[in-house]
Assembly symmetry: C2
Homo-oligomer: 484 residues x 2
Amino acid sequence: MKRYEKLANQLSELIARGDLPAGARIPSVRAACKAWGVSAATVFRAYYLLENRGLIKALPRSGYFVSEAAKEAMRQTAHSSPREAASNSVNISDLVFKVLHTIKQAETIALGSAFVDPALLPTARVGKSCAAVNRSTDLSTMVAGLPPGHDGLRRQISLRYLMAGLAVPIDEIIITSGALEALTLSLQLLTSPGDVIVIEKPTFYAALQAIQRLGLKVVEIPVDPVEGHDLTALALALEQHPVRACWFMTSFHNPTGVTLDDSRKEALVDLLAKHDVPLIEDDVYSELHFGPTPVRPAKFFDRKGLVIHCGSFAKCLAPGYRIGWAAGGRFAGALERAKWMTTLSASVPAQRAIADYLEHGGFDRFLHKLRSQLSLQQSQMLDAISRYFPADTMATRAAGGYFTWVTLPDHIDSIRLFLAALENGISVAPGPVFSADGAFRQRVRLNYGYPWSARLERAVATLGALCADESRCATALAGPVRVR
Amino acid sequence: MKRYEKLANQLSELIARGDLPAGARIPSVRAACKAWGVSAATVFRAYYLLENRGLIKALPRSGYFVSEAAKEAMRQTAHSSPREAASNSVNISDLVFKVLHTIKQAETIALGSAFVDPALLPTARVGKSCAAVNRSTDLSTMVAGLPPGHDGLRRQISLRYLMAGLAVPIDEIIITSGALEALTLSLQLLTSPGDVIVIEKPTFYAALQAIQRLGLKVVEIPVDPVEGHDLTALALALEQHPVRACWFMTSFHNPTGVTLDDSRKEALVDLLAKHDVPLIEDDVYSELHFGPTPVRPAKFFDRKGLVIHCGSFAKCLAPGYRIGWAAGGRFAGALERAKWMTTLSASVPAQRAIADYLEHGGFDRFLHKLRSQLSLQQSQMLDAISRYFPADTMATRAAGGYFTWVTLPDHIDSIRLFLAALENGISVAPGPVFSADGAFRQRVRLNYGYPWSARLERAVATLGALCADESRCATALAGPVRVR
């Protein structure tokens, strides 16, 4: 067990025994460092874990306190439909929508975006493929695009798996309208209304939306920004609940950026196999690893066909084309059926274009360049954050992708920061959009998918200044936050 | 009230009073014609209605009998998840899948297909548009495709509404991945698991699948092949159940081909408005009217914004492109959100291609030709059916689209016919795929979307011969039917 886990567990026990009752103040991060002889990072991570578990709460400029609901939170329960469970005065759904809509505002600096700068992508080359292969079209091309999808495209995807060390037969691959469809289709397939599923906390907001639509109950597993998923909590959830599926990002997790290492991925797969619970693995950033070799997905360790691995070309090649896929394991046949019944085929011109590009366009050469560019931009972003943000800000350094998950000082409210930033023409993704209950109000996700520039430098400086301006972003301000 | 409705109601009363107990034989069609001095068509339609209501049943080569469950069926109830409700030995879902899969078999004569012959469509011209507009692509084109969708495409759709006499503002139109996504998204938006919705019987099988996925309860409203939806039954359902939405095809209904006339459409809209119940209107065949002017959708009569009108280019222009839309009425904003959260945007290359074609490709000129071609093919198909099928076969003549709904003689089982036909390289759509409970076993849907040929002529002749061959298709054959 890691130092921060020990520390968190010690505090949990004190809370469980009632030694630390609801409302009791716990040491500030600085005081805790001195008292226990550990680094600030260790205390941060311990508190982070406790906050995720609902045991402690940060109060404005006062520090950390044992939450009123701590006792109840010790007994982990599956709650229904996240939107109903939200006890926060902010409508998270409205907030998500507002963040998404900033993509459409060309003048906004898109630090809240979930996409890489399209100017970094080979859009002209993909357009050339699209034009070349779609000029002629007939019955056979239309039929070839029907589920499970274009054969050439599926063969190319299978080859990419092979390069990452996985042998995934073409038969297992079903082309979808973006990874999002692969994920929600898998969830629909594996569950009925009222079923319990396990998700991450924090998580991708589309997962929360899908769960709400399908009337599912959820158990949330904390994701530590350094270690990843809390497998102890997962084991407990699997013991206590009739879990029908898990939906996890095991590499370059959105929003924290964390990647489970191989041994933890294997442990995760083994744990789920023991309970015969399928894993829906969201791996849309897999091509964007900064290291020299691909990061293995959890599916690599799957021996029972329980992992549905969902990928996409939207994050690393052609955002608007909406081409993703599921490698469905033992569920591939059922997924193919579900695809027939929901949206029939993925758009055929897009399937043909991507297939042609993958075969002839030089994807690997391009990815090689993109990866070092993103890695450079990460350093530039983290450097700017350290220069402009308050001293006790923490930002994660991921091993791939283009997100950093930023923990702001205690007294900052990320929703207020989001609103103040928007007024300054800057979007950020405030922490609460990544949970059902409005948690993570001291956190924001920042995107470094755009090449560094004086404009970006100024934007980060503006965010830092807003954080320092208590009249704009402090948690203590009276009255509810109005998002609409 | 029409003659056949009177006749059906008279028989219903006899059954309700117990004068005709369960198991009692009712007059054969021929006997009834003589006895009551009405045409065979009137008796057929009366019996059709009674069968739809679950009051009578056809038994192999014996005639019609009052069903065992008649008493219960008099009290109309909402049943849950159609798949569970199916008491039939055939797995309807397997059957649907088998029918769908025949599309992929190039050698099969696709009388069971839901598509028009792609050779009749201007695929080369659309491909030219696709190539021309997608050669160059950048951030702005990607962003322009995000919900609610490509502006130029939405403008063209709004213009087409205008030509049909409807003023639908662009703001109301959301582009989707085919009409199927527009329909299921609307259903998701309007309901929660356990809610009651009203559908048609017979209905489009994707509606049944969506209902099952979403855990909804359904009330089925009979659709008469001549008059359309039974509005009396609908009024009763609205009185008795907390109905959250209706999903209807009001023009060129699939599978029957029937179109509600204007006065009945208006009555439908008024009835729903009285109860404040939204209508999801599936109108994917709207462009394929045989008459000189477009047929008005129910949305034309909507004054409260309660109708979500769903259309598509998949049936009349470009099947593989997967471009459809919803004109969302008062739900347009919520639908746009739902689209963001489920599959993000529809494929951008396809949106741009269709928009360009609609503006420059001569869609109206093409449609003019297609409509007369389909009308001709309808006559050829109906003529062939009358020549080759048994004498007491009835086939509907729709005012548009490319389906005829064929009622076979009493002793024919359409699932056996489907299987026997497949062995002969011919697909048909057997009646049971259009209901949750395996009804319509004496009916098949035939497609006349392919230009008439000696090959088609032979196929219809083969079907006719199979119907006459009792060893192949008779209901009386022992043992369950195996579909897989």
